[in-house]
């Protein structure tokens, strides 16, 4: 039962990552990210239940609050302040992005095989999903123009890393998770400030405008 739920959560994790790449509306991206956060929290809770580990449950609670509550809320606040609601012209078009995502997922599965072989358990077998999400997140950040898309990309990367950590080790020490979460929150806050300032200076949030700052 737990295994099936775990597989379901992992599937949801990957599906939402691909969905983020597919949708153009920025508000839809945030919704998908929230769903992905919920899937990640599910994974953590399931692992905590399976190992009967209170600390992991606490970590799961922290992850849940951050990824379902705080981060989407911050992103929606950013979105409310900027006029563009759509990713109009990504550097790589949607169809090609889908193909790239497929290739990256394939790469993630082959590259993660040695890791899975280390401890072949149902949880570890799902770890490549995390790798795939990391790569897709990077791809998103590298190919989208809007600042919000890039924040979402960075958050995907983090979700992927967290998923790998949970799945491969069966729970992350509280100290590590707290450190990572604090980092992430800081990154999002910085990007939020950046977006607001960008809009104030350039009237848009196309990050390519930043090139003007380079001497």
């Amino acid at each position: 039962m737990t295994d099936q739920l775990l597989d379901l959560a992992c599937g949801l994790l990957l599906l939402t990552a691909v969905g983020v790449l597919w949708r153009r509306e920025l508000s839809a991206l945030i919704t998908l990210l929230t769903v992905q956060g919920a899937a990640l929290t599910c994974i953590a809770v399931l692992l905590a239940v399976e190992h009967r580990h209170a600390e992991t449950l606490f970590v799961a609670a922290v992850v849940g609050i951050l990824k379902i509550g705080v981060l989407p809320w911050l992103l929606r606040r950013v979105l409310a302040r900027i006029p563009e609601a759509r990713e109009t012209a990504p550097l790589v078009n949607i169809a090609a992005s889908m193909l790239a995502a497929a290739a990256l997922t394939l790469l993630a599965y082959t590259a993660a095989r040695p890791l899975v072989d280390l401890a072949p358990s149902p949880t570890a077998r799902a770890a490549p999903v995390g790798f795939a999400v990391v790569l897709i997140g990077f791809f998103l950040a590298a190919t989208r123009r809007r600042a919000v898309s890039q924040i979402v990309g960075v958050l995907l990367v983090d979700n992927g890393i967290a998923a790998v950590a949970f799945l491969a080790t069966g729970g992350v020490p509280l100290v590590v998770e707290l450190g990572v979460s604090a980092d992430l929150l800081l990154a999002v806050l910085v990007l939020q400030v950046l977006t607001t300032r960008l809009r104030a200076v350039f009237g848009g949030t196309d990050l390519d405008d930043l090139r003007e700052l380079h001497d």
Binding site: L91, L107, F131, V134, F138, A142, G153, H214
Partner: protein, 672 residues
């Protein structure tokens, strides 16, 4: 409860509370709070060191304090010696800070810079107390970072401070990396990271591994100690840091580089090959000579003292090298004397350099300049500071009855008493080392005569010196304490004998070094005796006797104008300056120092033979720095410029780089 544990605990608690109390304290009280806390930390640290050198050992393992490795502390007599040294210096500097930064004070009074001071001292106490590689590295890095913050204290006032900070940051971090590489390699080879585990496995390491570890650690430790050619940060940082920080760094922090070499070379690696110690000896000899030559021609008071630090570190390293070589040759007795000489000189240097840097701080505080050419005449306006500085200069010049004399005498004894069967290399190296020590001592005397004569005596050559006022009482008290410590070390160094014997025994299992009691220093293995007390009594007695006899028997004094060639009264501009005093020395060592001089003669309009003005400019660039570091910096700069083409400002490009690198690594993993 173990006294070492109690004292160290008190030190760290005081440091923490002092740092926290400094932040909200009102600006008027900040220096007093921090100074008192720093002095308290120093006293507690010295107490811990005192207990440790008298034979109390202490070990502790605190697994929960840090993740992964925990904190491991181990205090033995060797650690105790350096705890005592750091603690003593900090106690004096703490008292000094109260006046130096206090009302109308000099230097940074920003709360952040104040709060870092006790933390820096605590970090310096933690370095010798560390009992494992991870704890040691943590303490080392904490010490480096806090000292960097303190060096940058006056960054708003001058761009030179920023340059100094940059040099210091780059070199201390590079040194940290080499120490990190060396110690982690050592821990991996030994199969454990606690010093006890490494010590147990140390003798069984392969010569290549042990030699590599020693070289890596030596690079980092020697650069922290300011040994030439790893020294360029030192004259900059010591000169530009606020003076109380200079004193802490020069007297205490630099010694921890020496501690690192002793701990790794003698203790953890258990001796090692002869070439290690010959290399160290060469490093020491070059440092001693180059340091004192640069000091002799320096005109910036604090830069001069900084180069003198390089010189003294060179002598200490020479002693360590002799100890390593003799121990490898089976002459444990002489090796013990050499080690004792090095450790005693470390303590002596800590004493007089604290005093001298505090004195330099007093001068800087009341005159606003460090330029010896613009000083002079301070003996009338700042008599107490001058008297105390004289004590420090006497000690630093290694003249009896100063404390530098005792340790340099020990060092010479160790170098002179080699066994006849020592081999060709040593029969050449030992006399060369003796010559180096002798030359260093000679130039050292000239250097400190220059400082005293041109900086404090005669008449003021600048406005700052002409309007100088005596320093506040707390600064004088601090310098008095340092002078008293120097005097103690100079007259009864025999009190340190049991501690030195204990350390030598622990490291080398050598025989008894010092024979007999009393106030004489008798070297058991060599048969030499020196009696610092009677030397002091004799020298002072002779000096007083000659003065009295001269006054009683010589012609009566009379006041008369000095001969001035009929060209009006003599002015202060006609005095010897630091530059002109050092000119003969500069001429002798012209090939080594390669000064850049420039003489501009402006003739009068009427005739080419009438000179209206002569301008003399001299610059003494650090040649080693220019030739060794210049090309490296230029190459790094070129690489950096080439690398800028990769970065065109597009965020997408940067992210794509990251993605491409990640994918490349993963693909490489799959293919392999």
């Amino acid at each position: 409860m173990n006294p070492v544990a109690a004292a160290l605990g008190a030190a760290f608690a005081l440091a923490g509370s002092g740092a926290i109390a400094a932040l909200p304290a009102p600006a008027r009280w900040g220096p007093a709070v921090v100074g008192a806390a720093t002095a308290g930390v120093g006293i507690a640290g010295a107490a811990a060191g005192g207990a440790a050198v008298s034979g109390t050992v202490w070990q502790a393992y605190l697994p929960d304090l840090l993740p992964l490795a925990g904190v491991r502390l181990a205090v033995d007599p060797l650690a105790g010696w350096f705890l005592l040294l750091v603690g003593g210096v900090a106690a004096v500097v703490g008292v000094y800070t109260i006046g130096y930064l206090g009302r109308d004070g000099h230097g940074p009074a920003a709360r952040g810079a104040l709060a870092v001071l006790p933390v820096f001292v605590a970090a310096m106490l933690l370095v010798p107390a560390a009992g494992s590689v991870s704890t040691f590295l943590l303490a080392w890095e904490l010490m480096a970072v806090t000292s960097l913050l303190l060096v940058l204290g006056e960054h708003r006032h001058s761009p030179a401070v920023r340059t100094a900070g940059l040099w210091y940051a780059a070199m201390t971090q590079a040194g940290f990396v080499t120490v990190l590489l060396g110690l982690t390699r050592l821990a991996a080879a030994a199969g454990g990271e606690s010093f006890a585990a490494i010590r147990a496995a140390g003798a069984g390491l392969s010569p290549v591994t042990a030699g590599g570890v020693f070289l890596l650690c030596l690079a980092g430790f020697a650069s922290k100690a300011g040994a030439v050619p790893l020294h360029p940060w030192l004259p900059r940082a010591h000169a530009e840091a606020p003076s109380h920080v200079s004193a802490l760094m020069s007297a205490a922090m630099v010694k921890l580089g020496v501690y690192g070499i002793v701990r790794v070379g003698f203790d953890l690696l258990g001796g090692g090959a002869r070439w290690w110690w010959l290399l160290l000896g060469a490093l020491g000899a070059v440092s001693a000579l180059y340091g004192i030559l640069q000091a002799a021609v320096a005109t910036d008071l604090k830069r001069l003292l900084a180069f003198s630090t390089s010189e003294n570190v060179g002598l200490i390293l020479l002693g360590l090298a002799a100890a390593g070589v003799w121990a490898g040759a089976g002459q444990d007795g002489v090796a013990g004397v050499a080690l004792a000489a090095a450790l005693l000189h470390a303590a002596n240097h800590a004493g007089f350099k604290t005093l001298l840097f505090c004195g330099a701080g007093s001068v800087l505080r009341s005159t606003g300049t460090r330029d010896l050419d613009a000083l002079g005449g301070l003996s009338r306006r700042m008599p107490a500071t001058t008297a105390l500085f004289t004590v420090g200069a006497l000690c630093a010049a290694a003249l009896p009855p100063g404390n530098g004399f005792v340790s340099e005498w020990l060092l010479l004894q160790a170098l002179l008493h080699q066994a006849p069967q020592a081999g060709t290399v040593l029969t050449v190296a030992a006399p060369v080392a003796v010559a180096v020590v002798a030359l260093t001592a000679g130039v050292g005397v000239a250097t400190y005569v220059k400082v005293l004569g041109t900086g404090f005596l005669a008449r003021p050559r600048g406005d700052g010196a002409a309007t100088a006022v005596e320093s506040p009482r707390s600064m004088l008290v601090a310098m008095g304490l340092a002078a008293a410590a120097c005097a103690g070390l100079a007259i009864v160094p025999v009190v340190a004998a049991p501690a030195l014997e204990r350390i030598a025994g622990e490291l080398r299992a050598g025989p008894e070094l010092f024979a007999g009691g009393g106030v004489d220093l008798r070297l058991a293995g060599i048969g030499s005796i020196v009696s610092p007390l009677w030397v002091a009594v004799g020298v002072i007695g002779l000096a007083v006797g000659f003065a009295a006899a001269g006054r009683a028997l010589g012609r009566a004094r009379r006041r008369a104008p000095a001969w001035d060639c009929g060209d009006g009264p003599l002015t202060a501009r006609m005095e010897y300056t630091a530059t002109s005093f050092a000119e003969p020395l500069q001429r002798v060592f012209d090939d080594v120092l390669a000064p850049e001089q420039d003489v501009d003669v402006t003739p009068a309009a009427e005739s080419a033979y009438i000179v209206r003005a002569v301008a003399y400019r001299r610059r003494l660039p650090d040649r080693i720095e220019a030739h060794l570091y210049g090309p490296v910096i230029a190459a790094a700069d070129a690489v950096g410029r080439a690398g800028r083409r990769l970065a065109n400002g597009s965020v997408h490009r940067y992210l794509a780089y990251m993605l491409a690198a990640l994918v490349a690594v993963l693909v490489a993993g799959v293919i392999r």
